[in-house]
Assembly symmetry: C3
Homo-oligomer: 426 residues x 3
């Protein structure tokens, strides 16, 4: 029943222990595992120092370990136990520090005292440790030994790209980010669901659209990718989706584009209102992942973020509590199912036009009851409504919205009319 | 007070006993009675077998009688008592049948056990009887004699058309159907109110619009008519109305066009909101009469259905209980009055433009109080508002909607301004 | 704190005793007092009898005194006590009249029995007195002596105009009327606040817009002014405001333009919703001052009326109770502040466009926190949102409405981005 969900969950489990960041070997080896499943993914390396729009690709960061010990040699915290313990992009350090100096380099989330927060300092060189507030409270010694075995050096930023060609150059875009250390919902769920969607799309005998997938580091990755592909993306993209936080079992949600009027908004809204009427639509004001860049002034691509419990909106977000227990095969399967419905709606989202004037005579084709008595028509009502609105002015999503019938149920009707040569589309 | 309503009711009473169908002598003789009142109506005959868009004109059906009798010669039901008793378009039959075989040919409406339902089988040859559920329950003999004296043969489909020319070729369209046997609201009310509206329009000294009226059989009739007149109708029609179920005294209602944005929608909505604020606006999803064809994909004419209690929405619909007691002179008069208001609104629905800049000085024309004190202005407020919005951007219906004042009350204001040469229109 | 308000209130106090009308020396001397503060105002005289669109400039009215006395010589009412006592535009009279004849020439507001109403008869020659209902009830003598020392003769209509040039010919327009006798809110508040706004605008080192100010008599004054300036105003005016009843401390309100869609509507709505969320927006149906003419058919200028308690809507309106106690420095200051905000919003209301693709890297400019942890972003959220919507599609007011942040708070953000060469505008 949740067959795909189980596979997705297993992949997430395999990736979970690796310490990833926006550059470095953790990202690289995680992407390699995904390439093991989808070998067609192309891997790109962009050198540190490359200018990408207003930004510069940073130095590459790698980390091998880190700890705080008492002078008696007792370990207070260790990177081996949880890779959130070292501040993301921390410079190396090895020295004895007073408690006061140490505390200036310690990050906690005091209102969630048991959890280790996820903190980074990509663009200013610092060293630092993250720990639970409770752990911080137990730092009572006067002096500690601190050690971070990291490197911050010229290297490169890594990303993966896959383009699955379709019948046309019109593109549907999927983007997810692989730069977070051991957190499950945010963000292994996105890369793992995206991997499953690639396999689904590869399995289709025919694709109307070309599909573009990227696995990038957040923010600097989308900026880097856009700096190399913007023109083509602006020319071809019809709809795009950032996949993020798609693994829990709470609500569904999405972040709208700036003016809430693109095909991406329309298809998500349409699919979710039938699939999960309690879904939440966030305005663009609530953006915080790569849809920030895709929707930025001058870029203006039609990209929504799709989530279950959205980043920033659930308590475990950016803490050690966002672990493999927070996500589930069921949760991942649900997101996968929504995106498959989205893809099917898009693939069938033509403007339909009846070929005959007036209603066709459905009866002679066995599509209409031959006895006319009140109460006999309900069964064919959906087909009649589809026929009425297949007047060249509405696409499939528009018809679905007008009729308040899911696209899933309209596709067989449309196919029957095509079979009988009653319908054209473009 | 209900003078027109009484005449309309009397005409309905005269037509009631005749057994009509979508073709045949019942339709023909009913139309002749109407032609007796409006001799200018032209009658057309379209041969069986004629192809009309996706459809074919069926054989002509005529019926002279029919009954079910016990072998003892007792009449169970007889066409003479109620012409709904024979299935519409039933083939002839005369034989002795077992109770079981008979029941396969008997139609009832079990949830309304006292009433005979109206059932037809136009496009598949069958024989059959309709009766009340109670009558069916009393069929306890093992064998019955059944007799239907009908014919189903090459002939023609009959319809009537009247075009009343006006100042322009722009057209207003009225359509009603005359194909139902003895049922009063659905559908003698429509043809009879339409007959009265023709007389009203003939009595006008001046008509801005050309008016097109048709008396047709439902569905196949509108398809046939459209197949012969579509191009001209698409070129000239500004608004159209199907008149159906306009004889009872319950609510008023109308069925919108597909996108609810045509002049037909606008004028009905405007007139009804002042005339009867509790009126019901049905979406195009609730269409079921000839507006189905007029609004179909590729035809796309601006036609609403106007009703009091709409077909499908009242309990007596398509049963023997839809009789002369269900309609009344008052009910018919009300519908007549609404349509006269609709016609007047349309005839006056120009875009108005004041000829002077700034407000005109109404005082010097005796149209404004000469004393200025708070409370003295209310009387001329409507005229001042009309003047403000007569800026060339709004038609009469638009101004009425903005000012929330019925068109009826704006027409004398408009006339006064025209008299004083302050206004132009186009 | 209410420094401007105090100056405005003092000016109103100085003007209060003068008896003004739509023509005559009262208007003239009031305008001279204002010219004493703003000497650049140009004064125009338009001769009686001049045709202005559908109207004619009336005779000039001047009044020196008037009273009703008993035959015993006791004064019943005297113009010296309150200049509302003589009907505006009353012809001269001096005779002995019966009580009955007198009462035909007496105007009261019976539902406000202590107050003298303000009544005029500009376009029909009459004599008359206004008094409180209580005063009228005390008229018990059989005969009275009545005296009105007025003149109604060929002369001219006076108005003042000031044009403050700006960087472009695009204009912002302010209009107020100076034709009311001793009433404070309606209408000394408008001319006095307008005088202060002129001083504010003169003090600006740079003005994007040209500002046009008029001090006119109501209705005939705006018609006269439009008859001489319409073409230029239609060509250049971007937004305009009638200032009326802007001196009390009750609500704020404005009267929309006809279609509620002009820059004047947008800026007032935007400023007031942040400044005073309980403000009232009246439809154009509630117009009654010069916005009637500015918004009339064929003129169609983008002019709203700005008020605190709107004319017609407060009990003291057009009575002797609309005195210097009804207005206050605080009340006048509030209106002044709103209009200064309106001017600042207009001056900054460009379409903004980010110069870089993707979000700029705010961090390297010290505009963004260098530590990324949940909860650290709120401070820069407004700037990020401004950047996102600075895509060339929105003006400043539009961005403010989308972000729900006052223009006042967006201007420093915009300035910071301009400083960093990240933004362009047009």
């Amino acid at each position: 029943m949740n067959e795909e969900g189980k596979k997705i969950y297993d992949l997430a489990g395999k990736l979970f222990p690796i310490c990833r960041s926006i550059t470095g070997n953790g990202f690289r080896s995680s992407l390699e595992i995904i390439c093991g499943i989808v070998p067609e993914i192309q891997v790109f390396e962009v050198p540190s120092g490359t200018e990408v729009f207003d930004w510069t690709v940073p130095k590459e960061w790698n980390i091998r370990g880190g700890w705080i010990r008492s002078l008696q040699g007792e370990t207070v915290i260790d990177f081996k136990d949880c890779n959130l313990h070292v501040l993301g992009y921390s410079v190396p350090i090895h020295k004895t520090v007073s408690r006061d100096e140490l505390l200036e380099h310690v990050y906690t989330q005091p209102e969630q005292p048991d959890w280790i927060p996820y903190v980074t300092s990509y663009y200013k060189e610092r060293w630092g440790f993250c720990m639970s507030e409770n752990q911080k409270q137990s730092l009572t010694d006067a002096v500690y030994e601190v050690f971070i075995d990291s490197s911050l050096e010229a290297g490169s930023l890594t990303y993966g790209e896959l383009i699955l060609p379709g019948e046309t150059e019109d593109e549907i875009f999927f983007s997810t980010y692989l730069c977070h250390p051991s957190m499950a919902n945010n963000e292994l769920s996105g890369p793992c669901v995206q991997t499953a969607l690639i396999q689904y799309l590869k399995s289709l005998s025919h694709r109307r659209y070309t599909y573009r997938f990227v696995f990038i580091p957040e923010t600097i990755g989308s900026i880097t990718y856009l700096s190399r592909n913007l023109q083509s993306m602006q020319q071809h993209m019809k709809a795009g989706f950032v996949l993020s936080c798609v693994g829990d079992e709470r609500t569904y949600s999405y972040v709208s584009t700036k003016y809430e009027d693109t095909l991406a908004d329309r298809v998500l809204d349409n699919v979710l209102k039938f699939h999960y009427p309690g879904y939440i639509r966030f305005s663009f004001m609530k953006r915080a992942s790569d849809e920030r860049q895709y929707g930025s002034a001058g870029v203006d691509l039609p990209v929504c973020a799709f989530c279950r419990s959205k980043y920033h909106e659930y308590p475990e977000y950016h803490t050690s509590a966002d672990n493999m227990d927070l996500i589930s095969p069921e949760g991942l399967q649900g997101s996968y199912d929504v995106m498959v419905k989205v893809i099917n709606a898009l693939e069938n989202n033509y403007f339909y036009q009846m070929k005959c004037k007036c209603e066709p005579q459905l009866g002679k084709r066995g599509l209409y009851p031959t006895i006319s008595q009140k109460g006999t028509y309900e069964a064919v009502r959906a087909m009649q409504h589809f026929i009425a609105y297949a007047d060249g002015r509405n696409d499939m999503i528009g018809i679905s919205n007008i009729l308040n019938i899911p696209v899933d149920q309209l596709i067989p009707i449309k196919n029957k009319l095509l079979e009988h040569h009653l319908l054209s589309f473009k």
